[in-house]
Amino acid sequence: MSRTAHKSKRTRSKPRRDASKEVSVPLPPPTPKRFYGHGIPGVDPASLAGKLIVVEGADGSGRSTQIARLVSWLEGEGHPIVQVGLKRSTLVSPELEQAKKGNILSRTTLSLFYATDFADQLENVILPALKAGFMVLADRYIYTLMARDLVRGMDLKWLKNLYGIALEPDAVFYLQVSPEILVQRNFMKNQALDYWESGMDLGLSRDMFESFKLYQARIIEKFQLLQKTYRFTIVNGDRSAEEINRELRARIGKILLRGKQD
């Protein structure tokens, strides 16, 4: 008995989380869903019970770190999660990878190739998961694809029609990081800049460092343009991972409670 007493004393001095309060997992209230355009033939958006949360941002914006933390937090809270990202479709990802290596595809082709990859995951992963009530965390969505295409001179109206198949997410967080900080974070990670993330195919500068900064500034510009139509939440990504995560959790917490952000 003395052991029990000792334990309870310890509990008093250093308060433990009360497990009885964590037993019930609140079901996020349903909110109406809609496609941006005609959507996917035969899919009724009202049948999609789960939440779709998107995190956008350049390489080095801390996207992956944030998503990993969010997944662990949300699962800890008792919510089932499915993760998706670009270039992960069974249908075209090997060819897309190969095409990027050779840099042989022109802009319309690359754009449509990525759209195919997106559509494949939308139909085979995202929509079924949402239907089953899962929360889907997307590591980038159509906005990155659109921003990249816009920088390469594709027409906004054309892109909006193309992505009329996409489902409007419950929240989109864009981690906006200034190009200078982005460069430093990329160097911390790999000591090298990525060919495509530096926009080298555009011929902005033969100097990769210069090209990276010019290209990323243009991407930010396009994201701000897209923000006007798609109204995603711009998150200041220049801050520490902890600060960013606190903000994301607070915002997602609202969705879990009320079904939507605001």
Binding site: L105, F113, A115, A119
Partner: protein, 230 residues
Amino acid sequence: MNATFGEAGFPGRLIAVEGIDGSGKSTQVRLLRKWLERQGARVYLSEWNSSEIVKSATKRGKESNLLTPTTFSLIHATDFADRYERHLVPLLKAGYLVLCDRYVFTAFARDVVRGCPLSWVRKIYGFAHLPDLTFFFRTSLEVSLRRILDGRQKLKYFEAGMDLRLSNDIYESYRIFQGRLLEQYLAMSGEFGFRVIDANRPVEVQQSEVRKIVVDQFDLENYRMPGLSL
């Protein structure tokens, strides 16, 4: 509606052939190519679904039945864009006569029959100029089915529209699916000014008509190699 290559100021011209499977269009376009080459014209023939990089994905998608109407549409648009940007446009700028075994109209017909909205599909292909001449090889379903079966005994899954679950019987499905495609083609015929060829007739008779239309519309002198006299 988009301009044709001629209207858009390209020195080359594009001739497309369209028709349902088994209409004999591929045979006709090959014969036309031979003849144009013999006339000394610079000719290039581009086939639907033939872009090297995209083909393996389409093949895998079809084999493992991964394709939905949306991805079927997008992967064919990707294939078309690749051929359009890398082959068709540069060759047309260089003054070639480009022959296309199927063009955007194939997508317009197939994707709509599979349930994609017409305006969505048309806008996706909005980057492409229209052909300067489009032949439509019109056959009855019975004739086209017989040609397909004579050639290779078996119907292909997607050619028969089996993904649409129209019927469990592949021949019945083929008839329904190709019939719907034919309806789509006929609906587009006036809008895009198709030259309709009665393809129930012998190959030679059709080929003569095709050649005549081509020489009436184009001065073949313009498509010879510059600096070479024949």
